[in-house]
């Protein structure tokens, strides 16, 4: 199979969430000498972005997003060590977690996949993450960004509790705070004092890049 055909096939199989085929094509592509970055940026990520767009249009629902995300995650398991070997720079590190009192993580997990695909190192703390656990993880991993996820209006106030805990620990200015989840809005993110918000996984990656660039520009100014 020619490289272009393989990349097109990888795009299609990711779109339809065919995990075994995505894995096979990823390995096949590597065997043919296609670089891991090409497989990632020319097939896998555009495909997952299209999945997100179809979800927005109502053509796809959660199961289609999940199986596509899982298919891509399988490919990432193969590509991750190779990307590290090729010296593909990590864009940044993000600590992610669903806030205390909330067990919903489907959206967070999709965001994680997009972040990882985009070249971020993702440290996922799971669900029901207490402010103390976020702080410990920030001290340990020294991330560029911390992401708080909430699915319930009743757990969204934990964003503010987490940000207050960061301030109390003297960490607030050392990390970019991003928030997200189904009930979250830009207004709410602003009200709790978050640095960034995005409505979906693709937008979250773009916003994270913007925020990192802003921070770098400020540091070099």
């Amino acid at each position: 199979m020619r490289s272009e055909e393989l990349l097109a096939e990888l795009y299609d199989k990711t779109l339809t969430g065919n995990g075994p085929a995505v894995l096979d094509l990823t390995r096949q592509g590597l065997d043919q000498g296609i670089g891991p970055e090409t497989l990632l940026y020319d097939a896998l990520i555009p495909s997952l972005e299209e999945v997100g767009a179809r979800f927005e249009r109502g053509d796809f629902f959660v199961p289609e997003m999940l199986i596509a995300g899982k298919a891509m995650a399988g490919a990432l398991d193969v590509l991750r060590p190779l990307l590290a070997e090729t010296g593909a720079a990590t864009i940044g590190t993000i600590v992610m977690g669903t806030v205390k009192g909330d067990v919903h993580d489907i959206g967070k997990n999709l965001v994680n996949i997009m972040f990882e695909g985009a070249g971020f190192q993702v440290i996922d703390l799971g669900v029901q993450v207490s402010p103390e656990k976020f702080i410990d993880a920030i001290k340990t991993h020294k991330p560029d960004i911390v992401g708080f996820s909430a699915f319930l209006t009743t757990t969204m106030p934990m964003f503010k509790a987490n940000i207050n805990a960061l301030a109390k620990s003297g960490l607030r200015d050392r990390v970019i705070v991003m928030v997200g989840g189904a009930p979250v809005t830009q207004e709410y993110a602003d009200a709790v004092g978050a640095d960034g918000y995005a409505a979906d996984a693709s937008a979250a990656v773009a916003r994270a890049r913007e925020l990192l660039n802003q921070r770098k520009a400020m540091a070099s100014a």
């Binding site: 629902f61 959660v62 199961p63 199986i67 009192g101 669900v127 029901q128 209006t153 009743t154 189904a182």
Partner: protein
């Protein structure tokens, strides 16, 4: 009464028994899987009903519209049921909050969900075609609580079957429909007051 399909059977039964002069117009319960669309659907019916000279009550809680239904209410001068979800409508928001405070990994059922679980949950979430997604959806739940409106033996058996699928303990909390009836009666009285010159 524009209502959620998940509440429609109880609302019809209450309206008939009380002899309320209302037309019950349910919206598809499956909208709960695309809650961002609920407000648009509801608004279309509100506009149509108002154009026909009818008063409208929204027999919905917020239902994942995250303020969308409140905006519809504000735009058209209509009222909705209090609470975030139908769980609040049946059990009261404080009892629901207590259930989640006791264990955030609580999965709630109502009679409607017990009756329609295969269609509204398993099929809609793609679990019939992709059972491997079960841990993604439900991996963090630790118990099921059935907020029961009319717990017949058949429904109890169905609830047990759902708990067996989850492999989690099931607790039944009998809520009945009294709270729903009271809230509907309040909305109806407020709406009638609003119509009086």
């Amino acid at each position: 009464m524009v209502c959620c399909g998940a509440l429609a059977a109880d609302i019809r039964q209450i309206a008939t028994r009380r002899g309320w002069p209302v037309v019950v117009r349910p919206l598809p319960a499956l909208l709960h899987n695309r809650p961002e669309k609920i407000a648009d659907y509801a608004e279309r019916i509100v506009v149509t009903a108002h154009a026909a000279g009818r008063s409208v009550i929204l027999a919905y809680a917020d239902c994942g519209s995250y303020g969308g239904l409140d905006a519809v209410c504000a735009r058209h001068g209509v009222r909705r049921l209090p609470g975030l979800h139908c769980y609040d409508v049946y059990a009261g928001s404080s009892q629901v909050a207590e259930l989640f405070a006791a264990d955030p990994g609580t999965y709630l059922l109502t009679d409607f969900l017990v009756r329609s679980f295969k269609r509204t949950v398993l099929a809609e979430l793609g679990l019939d075609a992709h059972p491997e997604l079960w841990p993604d959806y439900f991996g963090h739940y630790r118990r099921l609580v059935w907020l029961a409106q009319d717990p017949t033996p058949e429904l109890a058996a169905a609830a047990e079957r759902i708990a067996a699928l989850f492999r989690l303990p099931l607790t039944r909390v009998d809520t009945g429909t009294r709270r729903l009836e009271r809230e509907l009666a309040t909305l109806l009285a407020e709406t009638e007051d609003g119509r009086r010159p």
